[in-house]
Amino acid sequence: MGLTLAEKIISRRIGEEVRAEDIVVVPVDLLLAHEGTGPLALDRFSALERTRPATQVLFFSDHAAPAPRRELSNVQKRLRTFADQTGARFYPPGEGICHQIVAERWARPGQIILGADSHTCTAGALAAFATGMGSTDIAVAMALGQTWLRVPPSIRVEVEGTFPPMVTAKDVILHLIGRLGAEGANYQALEFGGPTVAAMSVEERMTLCNMAVEAGAKTGLCAADEQTRRFLASRGRADGYTPLAPDPDARYERRVHIPVDSLAPQVAFPHFVDNVRPVEEVGDVPVDQVFIGTCTNGRLSDFRIAARILQGRRVHPGVRLLVCPASRQVYLDALQEGLLQVFVEAGGLILPPGCGACVGVHQGVLADGERCLSTQNRNFQGRMGNPEAEIYLASPATAAATAVRGRITDPREFL
């Protein structure tokens, strides 16, 4: 019997064959934390009486970038000081969202990556076994260079067909979460494959893997193939490429088929990510804010499709449009292509790369009774800083169409 991607990565890294449900101790290749979770990890690390991490650690200032208050400036300073003293890496405000930087500069097929952030699973797009844990687990991995985990059973998600115009990876993952439910993949891995995934860029695969956790999954994974090699080569990291695929006779917990030919743009209603409907069934929902960005959809391909709709148009007068590049690199690429100019001319506002608006720390906090349509991954009550507000989730195309019309709009009206 063959191995799933999750089983294969863990088996190779340990050096013996393991199977779903086994509880194993594994070496960890990369650790990450940010100003919301890093300080607690450092407290725990010193409680373990260690001074230098046993493996590569990255610290990010992305959740409050630049810091809106002194408590947060102080924790950022603490992370920077620790990094300076120990050889860990510190990314200051403006560099971007941790998951984007991990994909651009660090993640490689076959690695085991732990992050003190639930969306660490984003790196599964590069065939790394990447999962979110709490600060204590990260501190222990910093000290020991290893962690314990249960090898997850996998759900195979077969995506087939050609995307209709204005339908994207975000619609696939929202549709999938709507079908599985918010705990439908609890303790399991989501393994994405099939011809449509094979044709997807790494950026699109990141959108799929990013939201695996919204179905409860431990991680999301895509095979490492020609697309992966091209992505790594484009960032000067071709030497990090290894092809990696599940065995054809791997055993899956279940298989889910998603034919995209007939897939419509999808929208998740408040206050749950699995509360998903096709855009045709949304009804009349006026919005006050549209947010295009985050580790889910703040990349160049996301901005391209949004700019195609916003080019030469104005944002509806009742709407604030916020756009946030996921990293400095995305920011530069979008500048160079003129995409940011399109957003600003349309009436949009460009935020510095970071997570603040999505997590409700700062920038774009909603007023009481307001509604936001966002390309982010979560719409829980209070997520964007106000429990009296509502958040709807959709793709960058749906977001741009909504920004123009002032109510949730099918982007196919802009074909």
Partner: protein
């Protein structure tokens, strides 16, 4: 840890997220656990934030703790003296965090429990008795690795004691 725990129920619904437990608007308070804990679950039930007492239980619906990896979600409940969180299912990061910080998660059917009920939990036998409504539910013990971590009082004391992860040779 005591074998028999007794206390009062605070009842919550399905899908309580880490944004309910520790809202992002209090992000700057993560370095001050006592101040952060004053806001515990306030968007789900403001009464809980005001009136929860040490020794109380959180009893919830399915997928408790979904969302972020913030360990503060488990820590604030512990800071408030919550003895255990009882729910039919948990999101995996919260579940692991709870064990790591020494907060007991109990996977158990919670249908029929209401705020204010008095309950008694036998952590060895795996039983929850609702003394107010006079019924009993059973639950399965945690996996051995998690039992070992919880028995040490959390992951940090566990690693300090054993120098790594030990579960085969611990009771």
């Amino acid at each position: 840890m005591e074998r028999i725990l007794r206390g009062k129920v605070w009842r919550f619904g399905d899908g309580i997220s880490t944004d309910h437990i520790t809202p992002g608007r209090y992000y700057h308070l993560r370095g001050d656990l006592k101040a952060l804990a004053e806001h515990t679950l306030e968007d789900a039930d403001p009464e809980f934030a005001r009136n929860a007492r040490p020794g109380d239980f959180v009893v919830a619906g399915k997928n408790f703790g979904q969302g972020s990896s913030r360990e503060h979600a488990a820590l604030v409940l512990k800071e408030r003296g919550i003895q255990a969180v009882i729910a039919p299912s948990f999101a995996r990061i919260f579940f692991r965090n709870a064990v790591n910080v020494g907060l007991m998660p109990i996977i158990c059917d919670t249908e029929g429990f209401e705020t204010g009920d008095e309950i008694e939990v036998d952590v060895v036998e795996g039983r929850v008795r609702n003394l107010t409504r006079n019924f009993e539910r059973t639950f399965r013990p945690l996996p051995p690795v998690m039992r070992a971590i919880l028995a040490s009082g959390g992951l940090i004391p566990h690693v300090l004691r054993y120098g790594g992860f030990r579960w085969q040779d611990t009771p």
